[in-house]
């Protein structure tokens, strides 16, 4: 039997193996240091947004839980890290951990509600929770600075050595390193039994209990984890920009990250990263051409992608690769 079963194990091992394209992709993320040193601030914002989109991919792309309020965790993490620095603790790494833990607690609390609903109800509940938190932050001016934003965030040097410079060298290196480490973790997760269980929930939530799966416990777990990662992404933004504005909790941010993930391709881990690159570079370029109306071009891009690449950019690429493999056996 063990010889017959070696085959499925080998198959699963192959599924989890690093591809050449993946290695090339991560090496390419270092290129901005050399090729676009003037754009490192943008690059760090892209890395942060990619991390945020990655966290949404875990719940939406894998477990099939739609959210229109994911910015709640991003913003909660951003304010946690920002406030910690403002109140005198500007050490970046512990700030990240603190923000992740705070967002995780909030995530766990909401996951108890989230895990009971699906589809349209989920959209309404996540939207509601997001708006709730945004308004709470708006009214708590004494804490958040309200519409003026959180002032007086002063970060210490990273590892006591690297100063957060104006050109974004430290910001990009820091954001990219955090993105990569968390990506590694997510990658392991998606190839693990838990990752399989999440795909099971996405594929058929009715069958899951019939094979003995505690669906709600799985959902609480992944939702909490996604909240932790979103919180860390928010903290990165607060730390690298040394400010926090209400925008981190806005509906716009929740909608943008959803758009980014769908643009890149949900359920593939890289979708959120590719989506973030395309979306943010496009926004940067379009707003240069036509600052007032750049959402017009974003809208056009979105419609084009959804019409011609229903599974996102990566889904389209995967389709082309599969056809080419069939054509040349």
């Amino acid at each position: 039997m063990s010889t017959a079963a070696a085959e499925p194990l080998a198959y699963l091992a192959t599924q989890a193996r690093w591809g050449k394209a993946e290695i090339a992709f991560w090496l390419a993320t270092l290129l901005p240091f050399v090729l676009f040193p003037d754009y490192l601030v943008l690059a760090s914002q892209i890395a942060i947004t990619a991390l945020f989109a990655l966290s949404l991919d875990l719940i939406l792309g894998y477990a099939g839980i739609i959210s229109l309020g994911h910015a709640a965790f991003f913003g909660f993490g951003a304010y946690t890290a920002g406030l910690a620095a403002k109140w005198g603790w500007g050490e970046p790494l512990s700030g990240l951990l603190l923000a992740g833990a705070a967002a995780g607690l909030l995530g766990y609390a909401t996951s108890v509600i989230i895990s009971r609903f699906r589809h349209l109800a989920l959209i309404m509940i996540t939207l509601g929770l997001g708006l709730l938190l945004a308004e709470a932050a708006n009214s708590a001016r004494w804490l958040t600075g309200g519409a003026d934003g959180l002032q007086g965030v002063r970060m210490w040097r990273l590892f006591g050595y690297f100063r957060f410079d104006l050109y974004g060298y430290t910001a990009y290196a820091y954001s990219l390193a955090v993105l990569f480490l968390i990506f590694l973790m997510c990658r392991r997760l998606t190839h693990s039994p838990f990752g399989l269980a999440l795909r099971g929930i996405r594929e058929n939530a009715i069958r899951m209990p019939a094979i003995g799966a505690p669906t709600r416990a799985h959902i609480r777990k992944v939702y909490t984890l996604a909240a932790v990662i979103a919180g860390i992404a928010g903290a990165l933004l607060a730390q690298t920009t040394e400010t926090v504005s209400l925008e981190v909790l806005s509906f716009q941010r929740s909608a943008d990250v959803l758009v980014i993930l769908i643009l890149g391709g949900a359920g593939r881990l890289y979708g959120g990263i590719v989506g973030a690159i395309v979306y943010m570079v496009a926004r940067d370029q379009f707003s240069g051409i036509n600052p007032q109306y750049w959402y017009f071009w974003i809208g056009l891009l979105l419609i084009a992608v959804v019409m011609f690449l229903p599974n996102g950019i990566l889904g389209g690429l995967a389709g082309i690769m599969a056809r080419r493999r069939k054509a040349t056996p």
């Binding site: 039997m1 063990s2 017959a4 079963a5 085959e7 499925p8 194990l9 080998a10 198959y11 699963l12 091992a13 599924q15 989890a16 392991r188 997760l189 190839h191 693990s192 039994p193 838990f194 990752g195 399989l196 269980a197 795909r199 099971g200 996405r202 594929e203 058929n204 009715i206 069958r207 899951m208 209990p209 019939a210 094979i211 003995g212 799966a213 505690p214 669906t215 416990a217 799985h218 777990k221």
Partner: protein, 254 residues
């Protein structure tokens, strides 16, 4: 001996429609029971009630003597009460190996773990593959479920159930929609299940019912009409009335 599965006074109504009326049954361990009856008799509803997918209005559900009526569906599965579905209820975008491995992982309690890759969960994967091989699905186990032939999907329904190591298996029309020549093979696979698994199956093909069931329960309009051996059921006038009444009338009219 304590029956593997029993119900006492099980009731369920949707508004004024009574779908389960004082259902009492007892299936001994290792038995092969068929549940038959006309469409709308409440057979699938009974399975939904026993597995916890519907909440009964009253009554007891006993698994090996213990009342499980308050348990959630997944907890009943953990105790060994497992069902399959009349309409394929599978994971379309998982391949057959992944789907069965998932079910094995859930049983072993490792499905919440993400410390190791799937390929490192050697025992679970090997067991899943062995289950697929026992149902002759090993050759197609890397294909996505939605790309499998219909008959193979019906087998995968059973494979998923077996992966939970059921003590009592409730099969809701396992051969529904399968061509007649293939359905016999499917039932041969069911007949080949280990004898310690208790099986209750819903089936409309009377040939299959009489061949594979040791006892038959006949349901009509939410009630159990009669229970007996295949011989007793075949000779029962009330069953003939239910099943052949309509047909005989048609003959008379013609």
């Amino acid at each position: 001996m304590t029956p593997a599965l029993a119900t006492r006074g099980l009731n369920k109504r949707f508004g004024s429609l009574v779908v389960a009326d004082d259902i009492a049954l007892a299936v001994p361990e290792g038995a092969r029971y068929a549940l038959i009856g006309p469409n709308g008799a409440g057979k699938t509803t009974l399975i939904n009630l026993m597995t916890g997918m519907l909440r009964p209005d009253g009554g007891e559900i006993l698994l090996a003597g213990a009342d499980i009526a308050s348990l959630k569906p997944e907890q009943r599965v953990k105790r060994g009460l497992v069902r399959t579905f009349q309409i394929n209820t599978l994971f379309p975008q998982l391949n057959a190996l992944e789907a069965v491995t998932l079910a094995v992982c859930e049983r072993c309690g490792v499905a919440g773990s993400w410390r190791l890759r799937l390929a490192s969960h050697r025992e679970e994967v090997e067991e899943a593959y062995a289950i697929l091989a026992s149902l002759k699905l090993d050759a197609v186990c890397y294909r996505l479920t939605r790309e499998l032939a219909y008959g193979q999907q019906r087998l995968l329904e059973i494979a998923l159930a077996l992966a939970t190591r059921p003590k009592v298996l409730l099969l809701d029309e396992p051969a529904a929609g399968v061509p007649r020549d293939e359905s016999a093979a499917l039932f041969a696979a069911i007949a080949g299940l280990p004898r310690d698994i208790t099986v209750l199956f819903i089936e409309h093909d009377m040939g299959l019912v009489f061949r594979f069931a040791s006892r038959i329960i006949v349901m009509v309009a939410g009630r159990i009409l009669v229970e007996g051996t295949p011989g007793e059921i075949a000779a029962d006038a009330r069953v003939r009335e239910v099943y052949l009444g309509g047909a005989r009338q048609e003959v008379h009219h013609a």
